[in-house]
């Protein structure tokens, strides 16, 4: 089945945020009254200036922090979430294979099963040959791919990414963006991708929201009018330029 997002199957999580509020230290309001619906299998980019609450939003959706008010409803209620951070955050004392298998190990999956799944995830990100290496022996791009494999190994229905490619050089970032988009199309999970980069958001996502500097107010919520297949050729496409211009306009109003 091919849905409107261009994915083959939809097995992602649908989310509904209702009047979500988050306050730090009982005084600093990071997010105030946020309403947002995210469809199952959607690839949503969240843009906004530093300190606007993007990462806080992601942590609340991951259930690592609770809203001070309002609620986040997920359909289905029980699902597997994966989180990719700004840096790879690998365990340096573990090999690539053991890093990729870590989530399954923590979930109590036996060694044979978890290693088999970790090898599949590593192959999907092009790191099948590196399973015995340690993170210190990898480049920044390879480390981030291990981090991606670690996120994918549990076959998550919701993938949360907090500026995952921000620290990488442009060519590595371009390649990983294409790879991520392909993985999303193949798996049909819901992806929420926080980024500072307008071009990255436009290239990757089907929908982008721009948050205001204060209280996480949504300034722009736009379905991007771009083809589902995203290759590096799209980067010089005027349609991408148009979408970037719209997003930039919303960002510049700050």
């Amino acid at each position: 089945m091919i849905n409107t997002s261009g994915t083959k199957t939809t097995r992602g999580v649908a989310l509904r945020l209702e009047r979500v509020r988050r306050v730090f230290d009982n005084k600093f309001v990071v997010i105030e009254g946020m309403d947002l619906r995210i469809d199952a299998g959607e690839f949503l980019a969240v843009l906004g200036p530093s300190g606007c609450g993007k990462s806080t939003l992601l942590r609340m959706i991951a259930r690592l922090a609770a809203p001070d008010d309002g609620r986040i409803i997920a359909e289905p209620e029980q699902f597997q979430t994966a989180f990719v951070f700004q840096d790879a955050h690998l365990l340096p004392w573990r090999t690539v294979l053991n890093n990729a298998a870590l989530p399954l190990e923590l979930m109590g999956i036996g060694r044979e099963d978890r290693n088999a799944k970790a090898r599949t995830a590593l192959a999907q990100v092009g790191l099948a040959e590196a399973e015995d290496r340690y993170p210190a022996q990898l480049s920044g791009g390879m480390r981030m791919r291990v981090s991606l494999a670690r996120a994918l190994v549990t076959d998550p229905r919701l993938l949360l990414m907090d500026e995952p490619f921000a620290a990488l050089d442009e060519i590595t970032r371009f390649n990983l963006e294409v790879q991520l988009r392909e993985l999303w199309q193949r798996r049909g999970m819901t992806v929420i991708f926080v980024t500072h980069s307008i071009s990255e958001a436009a290239f990757l996502a089907n929908r982008a929201v721009v948050l205001a500097r204060r209280k996480g107010r949504i300034k722009l919520d736009r379905r991007l009018d771009l083809p589902p297949e995203r290759t590096n050729d799209l980067r010089s496409d005027p349609r991408l330029g148009y979408e970037m211009k719209l997003l930039m306009g919303a960002m510049e109003e700050e």
């Binding site: 951070f85 955050h89 993170p135």
Partner: protein
């Protein structure tokens, strides 16, 4: 050889210079003995010194092992909550500030003359660096990795074993390096007051004006400290060499 040559050169130079200074009368031999006299004292008293060395080594090793076990356990307890840390850490600092030479007589009263007192002294002197460094390591776990473990439902015990402890290992080993030297110092101090070993050899030789024997015993005590330090370095190299910068640079 390249590794051992740099520290060997100053050793040879200083030894030869000292030998010359003592033999030429520049330094009186009743203050500083000639290296050859120290070597002779080592050989002449080898049985007594070997027995003393064995006792000091055993006491320092037991004290060091106890401070490692107790220090890591206390640090784990302190790191479990801010409230426990605030309540108990000041008492842990007691081990850092206690003047061991002042309480050593008390140890004799509590544990009697012999090994127990010496072990207690080594333990008290060496435990604080283990607590402080382990605690720093345990509290410095990457918050993103803590989130990751929470996301996949890891219990606090699993998080401790699979994340916090291995992440703290470089700091723990730093604490053990400091503690290894202090354990030997603690054992020697304990032996001054209430035990047998290199400390009591030094004390007795001092009263007999046998400066050469004092130096021989001090030399063996230093060798013991170096051996313990080397052991921790070996463990550090074996456990950290694949992933930690401190071992990859060496």
């Amino acid at each position: 050889m390249r590794k051992f040559l740099p520290p060997l050169i100053p050793f040879v130079v200083i030894t030869l210079a000292l030998e010359w200074m003592v033999r030429s009368g520049l330094v009186p031999s009743y203050l500083v003995p000639a290296p050859s006299a120290v070597l002779r004292a080592l050989l002449d008293n080898r049985e007594e010194l070997a027995a003393a060395m064995t006792k000091t080594s055993a006491a320092a090793l037991i004290g060091f092992a106890l401070s490692t076990l107790a220090g890591v356990a206390i640090a784990v307890l302190l790191s479990s909550s801010r409230a426990i840390q605030r309540a108990l850490y000041p008492y842990a600092v007691f081990f850092q500030t206690v003047p061991i030479i002042a309480i050593a007589p008390l140890l004799v009263i509590w544990f009697g003359y012999g090994m127990k007192t010496v072990v207690a002294s080594a333990f008290i002197v060496s435990i604080f660096p283990v607590i402080a460094n382990t605690l720093t390591g345990l509290l410095s776990t990457d918050p993103a990795l803590r989130d990751l473990f929470r996301l996949y439902g890891a219990s606090p015990a699993i998080t401790l074993v699979k994340l916090r402890f291995p992440a703290a290992l470089p700091q723990i080993l730093t604490g053990l390096r400091v503690a290894s030297g202090l354990a030997v110092i603690g054992a020697i101090v304990g032996e001054f007051i209430g035990g047998e070993g290199l400390g009591s050899v030094v004390d007795i030789a001092r009263t007999q004006q046998r400066v050469d024997k004092v130096f021989a015993a001090v030399l063996l005590a230093s060798a013991l400290g170096l051996a313990l330090f080397g052991l921790i370095n070996l463990i550090s190299a074996l456990t950290l060499r694949r992933w930690h910068a401190s071992e990859q640079l060496q």
